[in-house]
């Protein structure tokens, strides 16, 4: 029996070369209800979906300066769901007129042995946190309203402490590279959420101190 043909061409496109377009903002706790109400009206007509996730951030310190960061995330509300491993590249410095933050993004689903695997590979866990909130969708756009909490005892997700009195709002789209109409749609959607929340492009590299 012949072996099935193996493609020798490198795999391009598909899910490998996806870019994440991101806009972020935040609302205070008091404004959460009105924001959820508005999102419920603007987004696709589905039952509201809540989530509770536990995210661990792993670092691989190489010889050079910048460490390699991988984010591993699992769902606490759906324990049987697979882990999600994500790599986010540097934000693309394109023209300044682009409205959203664009960066390379690789998403992989992983089994429950992921933390051990990463430890064996040499990654070390830098920090972890718990996020819970609501998730909405409009077409290809995903809107996540989440509250981040700090884990006091490593590994214990029950004992958490809220990091702030506000909710983080993120509008993101996963699209193949080169589609610039996506950022236009995101901007027009963000316009509709003003003045409840101002979603804007926040460069993570500028945040670091």
């Amino acid at each position: 029996m012949e072996a099935p043909p193996v493609t020798v061409m490198p795999v391009t496109g598909g899910t490998i070369n996806m870019m994440e377009y991101l806009l972020q903002g935040s609302v205070l706790d008091q404004a959460l209800e009105s924001l959820l109400h508005r999102l419920r009206g603007l987004c696709d007509n589905m039952e509201p979906e809540t989530f509770t996730d536990h995210e661990l951030v792993y670092l691989l310190k190489g010889q050079q300066g910048n460490p390699f960061i991988l984010r591993a995330r699992r769902s606490l509300s759906h324990p049987k769901a697979p882990w999600h491993l994500r790599y986010l590249g540097q934000p693309e410095v394109g023209d300044k007129s682009r409205h959203a933050l664009v960066r390379n993004c690789v998403d992989v689903a992983a089994s429950h042995s992921l933390p051990d695997f990463l430890n064996e590979m040499g990654f070390r866990m830098d920090h972890e946190f718990v996020a819970n909130g609501h998730i909405f969708r409009k077409g290809a756009m995903k809107i996540v309203v989440s509250k981040l909490s700090r884990i006091l005892v490593p590994g214990n997700t029950e004992n958490t402490e809220r990091l702030s009195l506000s909710y983080l709002v993120e509008l993101s789209v996963l699209a193949p590279a080169g589609q610039d109409t996506v950022s236009e749609d995101m901007r027009s959607f963000a316009e509709q959420l003003k003045p409840l929340v101002h979603l804007e492009k926040i460069d993570p590299s500028k945040q670091r101190h």
Binding site: C43, D44, N45, M46, E47, E49, F51, D53, E55, R71, R73, R74, S75, S77, H78, A81, P82, W83, H84, R86, D107, V108, A109, A110, S111, H112, A131, G133, I135, R137, K138, G139, A140, K142, V144, S146, L174, Q192
Partner: protein
């Protein structure tokens, strides 16, 4: 009272004693003030006994009474006439009291005489017999009058109410722009962009992935002349739909036995009557619904034609202009066409070609719509939502493919295997086979007299399967075979 220092105020009564005479040496001799008894006497003189507490009436009655008893009491009259003011002040009081006593005595005497009923009798004053009737008639008339006035008041009030209700209805008929806009907003998605009001009539929020934007604009109808009478169907609001969604459309699915000429392909452009507007629906609603239907038909046709081109089958499907032709069975042709009439229907009405009523399979058209909506609904199911939240959208089970190392067979079993076109072809095959089977059984049953053949078709069928029970019996025998 201001908070200044207290001021002593002394009060002195004015000199109350009257001066009687002034002596030569300047001393004044005052009239001595009246003593208590003198004061009382002076006041008693002023009492008027003829005036009772009921003032006038008693006074008037008192006078004739005085005259009546005048003859019997000449002495008392003389006594009152002989009143001399120079007598002591209590004299008038004494006289009045004496006359009162006399009158009381007389009254007492009369009453005692009347009580014996020998010399004096009391007779009731006779009632006027006619006075009894008139009160009733009078009552009736007065009641009638009062009822009439009450009725008039109520009628006036009712008139006012009906007038105000009629005015309200008139206002409503005139249809204010804002109230109409509110009504529009209760049924369609609207948003304000700058100074324009845009709306969305696509199925995107219901799960469609069709790239048509589906935005319509709401404009104010200002070409109304307020002086002229407002027409019946006036609406202050007008919607402007995208030009490619104008008119009405439907998907015509038909099965034909013979294959038409190649040249005839793509010429299907039939239309049916525009749907009758229900009384009470606004014109914009009809317009928007028609546009939405056109959009849905376009999406269905786009999906079908995409699949027709992509899916490999033994007999390739032909896609020509607005028609898709495929052959489910040899000799049988299934044609699906999008019939879109843009509204200039007056010219086309003269075309003599009338479609045969049973040519168009309404069932399949309905099924197409239904399948499209099911596809939309699947897009929105919560199975698609990612847990954890950072994961991309996608079917929940497909996300397990990586960790659980699914092979190709398992993955392909998870994904949608059949497209819209394949499904509809299967359904068309089923319909054709069912009708052919029924015809065959019926022809056999009519041709063969012995044994008898009966066919019971089940009412409840699937789109892909039907069930029929065929009974073959022979007259006189209980069972035909063991």
């Amino acid at each position: 009272m201001s908070g200044g220092p207290a001021v002593r105020v002394s009060i002195e009564s004015s000199c109350e004693k009257q001066v009687q005479e002034v002596a030569l040496d300047g001393t004044e001799t005052y009239v001595p003030p009246l003593s208590m008894s003198q004061n009382l006497a002076k006041l008693a003189q002023r009492i008027d006994f003829s005036q009772g507490s009921d003032s006038e009436e008693d006074g008037a009655e008192g006078e004739p009474r005085d005259r009546e008893w005048g003859k019997q009491e000449p002495e008392e009259e003389e006594g009152t006439v002989k009143f001399q003011p120079s007598l002591w002040p209590w004299d008038s009081v004494r006289n009045n009291l004496r006359s009162a006593l006399t009158e009381m005595c007389v009254l007492y005497d009369v009453l005692s005489v009347v009580k014996e009923k020998k010399y004096m009798a009391l007779d009731p004053v006779s009632q006027d017999p006619t006075a009894g009737k008139t009160p009733q008639v009078f009552q009736l008339i007065s009641k009638k009058k009062s009822l009439a006035t009450a009725a008039q008041l109520l009628l006036k009030g009712a008139e006012k109410l009906t007038k105000s209700v009629a005015e309200n209805q008139e206002n409503r008929r005139q249809r204010d722009f804002n109230s109409e806009l509110l009504r529009l907003r209760s049924q369609w998605k609207l948003r304000k962009v700058g100074d324009k009001i845009l709306g969305d009539l696509s199925y995107r929020s219901a799960g469609s992935l069709f790239p048509h934007h589906g935005t319509f604009e709401v404009i104010k109808n200002t070409d109304i002349d307020l002086d002229k009478k407002i027409p019946e169907d006036y609406c202050p609001l007008d919607v402007q739909i995208p030009s490619d969604l104008e008119g009405s459309a439907y998907i015509k699915v038909s099965i034909q036995k013979q294959a038409p000429d190649i040249g005839d392909l793509g010429t299907v452009n039939l239309f049916r009557r525009p749907p009758k507007t229900k009384a009470g629906t606004q014109p914009w609603h009809v317009k928007l619904e028609a546009a939405q239907n056109v959009l849905l038909c376009k999406e269905i046709f786009a999906q079908l034609s995409r699949e027709a081109v992509q899916i490999k089958s033994q007999i390739p499907h032909i896609v020509v202009k607005n028609q898709i032709i495929s052959q489910p069975f040899p000799g049988l042709q299934l044609s699906i066409s999008l019939c879109h009439s843009t509204g200039e229907k007056k010219n086309h009405r003269t075309s003599p070609e009338k479609p045969k009523p049973d040519d168009h399979l309404y069932v399949l058209e309905h099924n197409l719509h239904q399948m499209m909506r099911e596809f939309h609904k699947q897009q929105l199911s919560s199975v698609v939502m990612p847990h954890p939240a950072s994961a991309p959208f996608g079917h929940k089970r497909l996300r397990l493919a990586g960790p659980l190392a699914y092979d190709k067979a398992e993955i392909s079993s998870l994904q949608q295997s059949e497209g819209l076109l394949e499904k509809i072809i299967k359904q068309a095959k089923h319909i054709f086979l069912r009708s052919r089977t029924a015809r065959t059984i019926d022809s056999l049953a009519s041709r063969i007299e012995d044994p008898q053949i009966q066919a019971h078709w089940s009412n409840i069928n699937d789109v892909y399967e039907s069930s029929v029970k065929v009974l073959i019996t022979s007259q006189g025998y209980e069972q035909i075979c063991k």
